[in-house]
Symmetry: C2
Subunit: 76 residues, 2 copies
DNA sequence: CGGCGAAGTCAAAAAACTTTGACATGATGT
DNA sequence: ACATCATGTCAAAGTTTTTTGACTTCGCCG
C-alpha cells in the first residue's frame, strides 16, 4: 500500500472531546472501528467524505484535523 | 458507485486561475484527466490526499474548494 | 484470579477510487 | 470544409480504501 503523507490530530481530538473511544467515533461517523484505527495511525488517507464527517464530529475545520506537508524537497 | 454528497468549486477556480484546462489541472496534481472530470462533476469524492493537492494548486483552503452539506434530514 | 473494555494486529473480501484507451461533441481557427 | 482543442462518455483493468471476523495485549475493577 502507498504510505500517505497526510497526518491528523484525531487522537488528541478524541480525548479533548470527553474521552471518546475509537469505537464511539466509528459509530458516530458510520464506519468500522478498523477504519478509525487505520486512519488515526496514518496507514492511508481517508476519502474526503469521511474526512468531512470526522471534522464535523469534532466541530472543527478540515485543516484543523488533517495536515498535509509542504512537499518541497521530498524525494523518497 | 455510491453518489457523493461532496460538492466543489473546481470549475470556477480553474477559470479564476487563467483558464486552466482540466488537462492542465490533471497534470499539475499528477492525476489523469478522467479523474479531474469525474471529481469536478461530483461523481465521487476524491481521496483526502488528492483534495489537498487540488487545494494547493489553487492556493486555497480545503473548505474553500470542497463543500459538505448539513446532512440534517436526509434519509435515503 | 477472572472478566471486561479499549486499543491493536492480521488476512481476505468488498466497495470505492484511479487509470487506460477509444471514441463523440461543440467551439474555434485557417 | 478540415483540423484542433476542450470537454465529455463508456467500459475494463488496476489500485487504494473499507469491511468483516477472529485473535492478542494491556490496564483496571470486583
Amino acid at each position: 500500500m502507498k504510505p500517505t503523507r497526510v497526518t491528523n490530530s484525531i487522537r488528541s481530538l478524541r480525548f479533548a472531546h470527553g474521552q471518546m473511544t475509537q469505537a464511539d467515533l466509528a459509530n458516530r461517523i458510520g464506519v468500522t472501528r478498523q477504519t478509525v484505527i487505520a486512519i488515526e495511525q496514518g496507514r492511508y488517507s481517508p476519502s474526503l467524505e469521511m474526512a468531512f464527517q470526522i471534522a464535523r464530529v469534532f466541530g472543527a475545520a478540515l485543516d484543523d484535523v488533517f495536515q498535509y506537508p509542504d512537499s518541497t524537497g521530498e524525494t523518497p
